[in-house]
Amino acid sequence: MLQQVLHALEQAQQPLSLNDLAVQVGVDTATLEGMLAFWERKGRIVLHDGQACMSRGCGGCSPTGGCAFAGPSPRAFLLVPDERKP
């Protein structure tokens, strides 16, 4: 089942939503989240859930900290290429 998640992701021709992948693997999204977390720990998937901003000079820093222009970004899980594969 775990390999099925990676396989579905590798074969995807377009970005998948969590729901699409859950339907494809035949599990609910909560289970899929657990599986993705496992692959993240294993280093096969990287999770991105926000933007970094290192600038202090563009005037876009919000009073509460962070960048006022970098709005909430959807979580994205990226597949890390398997280095063991030729």
Partner: protein, 596 residues
Amino acid sequence: MTLNPTLKSRLTQPSHPAAVPAAPMASTAMRYDSPIEAAITQISATLAAHPTLATQYPPRWLAIQLLEGDEGLTTLVQATPNSTAILEQVSNQHAHLSAHYNDDLDVVLADQRYRFVHQVVQHTLTRPAAPAATISDRIDQIVTHKWLGIPIFLLLMWVVFKLTTDVSAPMLDWVDGVMSGPLTAWSIALLGTLGLGGTWFESLVVDGVIAGVGGVLVFVPVLLALYFALALLEDSGYMARAAFVMDRLMRTLGLHGKSFLPMIVGFGCNVPAIYATRTLERQQDRILTGLLVPFMSCSARLPVYVLLAAIFFPTQTGLVVFSLYLLGILVAILLGIILKHTLFKRSEQIPFILELPPYRMPTIQSIWRQMWERTAAFVRKAGTIILATSIVVWLLIATPVRGAGSFAATEMDDSAFAAVAGSVAPIFAPLGFGSWEASGALLTGFVAKEVVVSTMSQIYAVEPEAAADEDLATLSVVDGLTEIVTSFGTAALDTLKAIPLVIGINLTDAEAEAEPTALMDTLQTSFEQASGGHGTLAALAFLVFVLLYTPCVTAVAAARQEFGNKWMWFSIIGQFTLAWIAACMVFQIGRLLGLG
């Protein structure tokens, strides 16, 4: 893993009266494949015989953890006496099983646990064959549809810019009236009281600070409207869908799918968008996306678009602004395809999953917070970068390099600014805006795009007519405040009337529409003269140039920090060249076709 009898009984019973298990489970005890079970049994037996470990941990559980390679527990076992034999046994079994399954043993063990849980769930829970679609699912079927997704995205963008330009226009006129009316009058009166009337300092305050910074602050209502619309789209959850839909398009075109996430940030500001390329895994993808991000029209470019579109395309302002945003996206995609097939051939697709959060009703507090934070950032910028640049521009304007004028009392054509800007003006002559005024605005626009507007406000500033000047001079504080309050009421009413314009219903009184200001008249005349009577085409070419050339000095610094000097220069030179070619095509082809 063994289940206690109560839990076992619950798991083997249907969870719902209507749910019938497909088949009774033979056993609810978690059992791995026999080779693994054999290894676990052997290691467990050894652990059970260990005097310390047997009393601290269940042997089977510890055996599984050690086989999975739990570093903490392995270290702990190493620290106990007589553990060498145990670890050797674990190591041998680990090697044997890894070879047997041709995979990492922890993956094999976790996979078998997932299979067990899945089996338990399947036997105890009956789900509807097709789960009921939620409201989010139903909306997503339309907005992320393969063919409808892009048109819906474009339609929403069009509504955003219609809202931004049409609805904010009355408030823009109000702020402009306050800046050029009571505020200027009070400043002049105050300086006169202090004995500074008619001096260079008055010129600095009025022609430098108020014309420059005020000329930009006039656009605060436009930006508030834009930030309101963007916050609405972000908070409702639509922006994630926009990224999803555009990702699909970009991937179809052979570009990195995830590139559009930083690009969407670029609509607000290019600087965090360049830093957001860090979310891409490969350096090649980061550089490629970083080169494309500046073509996303940031909110700093909006005042330039609105100013020129309102002058040259007064009835189609929203459409022109929307077209410029769209052109930016198209140029980014086309350039991306070209670069992907030339300099970035080795860049490969990386599959990814995007979480589409459920749609939710935006809250007033959240929308206001975003509008406030972004507008505050803009105002802060007006008080720092734009103020500093306005003062430098004023200094150059005030300094004569020819003619008989003296400091702060010279003809603008004789100023140092006109000389510097005039030296680069021939570069822009084929583009239709080869005047020193337009060239000067583009030069200072390298600092920040809002500066294009502030510089224009300074260099196209016209002396008020004598009667108007006298009115300003005699404007009392009470009269000024009354004028501000009454004109605000009128502007607020006109804003409400303008809302139906978004869907094409015009409730505004044509006669009451704002008259062109002196700045607008002068700007129009200047473009007409510089282009040989093709002012509209020249203005369009100018807008295209502003869209495509370097966004600002901070974006350049961000590119240098992220991608290095080589790519920073590639970006600056490439953007300038592309902007020049595109603007030249707009002007020259338009002129050949007899347009404008």
